[in-house]
């Protein structure tokens, strides 16, 4: 085999490998998607039917039974709301830790990350009781607060590591030019970090959107986001695969479409350390 052929073979093999991994990852989503167009009977038939007449019944039933729009709205409010609040807290925090580090800055960062090591269920009871006592059960407020706290460490970390890479002299130059700390953040740091902030925000929104543990435990119907709605299709009377799939498809669709549009930002953001 010539060197050229070897190279070609290598390309083909890596290509094949990448495609198979991608297919394995994608398959469950694909299956969920087509199942949502089947009847309940087709959905559980063995062997699975690949060719069938698609039906939109499941989607209609889902909307009728559990008011998709209502839950989607809850998801939008909680994920966007908590992301905005978290950013408002995280940007100044990351700024001060990145540009004015103290003796304990590293410890604080590590401590924040350590809160993510605690299993959520460990604080379920106290948080549940707090929500109950403050009348926040089944409220969007509770979810927004919890989601904010949940993602804050990650957001601070991501922004911190980006800010830390910004050349310090640029901020010093701004200071010499007469910029107050507010000017510095608003006119220099933020414009330079649009990519990093939007990808961080996107990640936070996705994490909130897909969050199930707190949504299930703290909401019932009024504030239930899409994840809670999906779960309601796994009921004591048995699983309704087709409807569950339809609900899941509807739950995933907005965030997948949103993510698709923000793809460029996301890739840029996740690699920001590497391409300075």
């Amino acid at each position: 085999m010539t060197l050229n052929q070897q190279r070609k073979l290598k390309t083909i093999l890596t290509g094949l490998f990448a495609w198979s991994v991608a297919l394995v990852l994608f398959f469950p989503i694909f299956w969920m998607f087509i199942t949502s167009f089947k009847t309940e009977l087709q959905a559980i038939s063995v062997p699975p039917s690949l060719f069938f007449e698609p039906t939109l019944d499941n989607f209609r039933i889902v909307q009728e039974r559990s008011d998709y729009i209502h839950h989607a709205w809850n998801s939008v409010v909680t994920s966007f709301g908590s992301t905005i609040i978290a950013l408002v807290i995280a940007i100044p925090a990351a700024y001060s830790m990145a540009f004015f580090p103290g003796k304990r800055t590293k410890d604080i960062l590590l401590w924040m990350l350590s809160t993510k090591m605690l299993p959520a269920v460990g604080v379920l009871v106290p948080i549940y009781i707090l929500c109950r006592d403050y009348g926040l059960l089944d409220s969007k407020t509770a979810l927004v607060i919890i989601f904010t706290l949940m993602n804050l460490p990650i957001i601070v970390w991501m922004l911190f590591s980006y800010f830390k890479d910004l050349p310090k002299e640029i901020l010093e130059a701004a200071r010499m030019d007469g910029a107050t700390p507010w000017d510095e953040v608003v006119k220099v740091v933020l414009p330079l970090s649009v990519g990093a902030i939007s990808s961080t925000a996107l990640l936070s929104i996705v994490l909130c959107w897909n969050e199930a543990f707190w949504s299930l435990n703290l909401t019932a119907s009024d504030a239930a986001p899409l994840t809670a709605m999906i779960a309601s299709y796994s009921s004591p009377e048995g699983l309704f695969w087709a409807k569950l799939s339809a609900a899941s498809t509807l739950a995933c669709a907005p965030i997948v479409i949103f993510g698709w549009f923000c793809q460029k930002q996301l890739v840029q953001g996740l690699t920001f350390g590497a391409v300075k």
């Binding site: 010093e172 130059a173 701004a174 200071r175 030019d177 007469g178 107050t180 414009p191």
Partner: protein
Amino acid sequence: MTYLAITDLQKHYDSYHALRGINLSITEGEFVVFVGPSGCGKSTLLRTIAGLESSTGGSIELDGRDITEVASSKRDLAMVFQSYALYPHMTVADNLSFALRLAKVSDAEIKEKVRSVSASLQLDALLERKPKELSGGQRQRVAIGRAIVRQPKVFLFDEPLSNLDAALRVQMRLELARLHKKLGTTMIYVTHDQVEAMTLADRVVILNAGQIEQVGTPLELYRQPNSRFVAEFIGTPKMNLIAANKIVRHEDNLAIELLGQQILFPAKRLKGPLPDSVVVGIRPEHMTLVEEGGDLSGRIELVEHLGSEAYAHLQLSSDQTIIIKAPARTELKDGQEVSLKIDISEIILFNENDRVISVIPEEA
């Protein structure tokens, strides 16, 4: 009259004492250069004046106002950074006008100022570009323009030329000198390059280990250093230092024995009592090759031809190597034995504490 007064300025970093009681006064319109080896505190001193570092003692007064505790943004100083530190997301025009916009200067005035500064720095054609589309020299110009446009009380330069290539550096050095002449604004300039210090400065401040070693005009430092550190720091190649242990008073002269041969040094140029031993400092340019009867002799180890001149490395009988300046078309060969005459009027004596104990002859 003193414009910027620094009094007993101290800076501690945890256990490290970076500035150890700096006292310095600068008059309005002066071009002062801080120079010293890395870690001497020159950048820290500049950044403390700028307010980018806080001081841990002492005071800084600018134009009669104590600015020790004033925020950088309120000190009315402009700074040019080594990395230029342009705002990457702004065009050249926006970079230039940033400070004016912060100061809420009217649009018409901003426009006029940006126009005149960009014209004087040949940036007119680049106003709409972003920093990443500029060459190193152009970025440097924008950084300087950004400082000029504000008409600050003092310009601070932190090694502004060290990122440029050699040819551009010489050119920018000249431009800075012109700029200072034209504006007449006080400038403080930090560099580790003594050539920049010598060519630009009205006065040079030599720092060593967080203290001021000496302040003076470039020529004063070259001719009248007050310590071995300054004598060695100023001048390329370095001053040669030869230890002498036998000194005898001989009427009006001191007979100093250098490697077996005596040189006669006028006794009236000695400050203080007669020491037991001295270190004799001779610059490479103050020795000449002679056929015979020289003060020193040795063997040529290596000749460096620089085109306009040549430097010969000479191995003395004590195995010490000294450097002498030779004419450009020198015929010196490696391994050749040569004899040297020392220009006595130019030598400097140091005591065992590295302080200078001789004075420059009056007529010279």
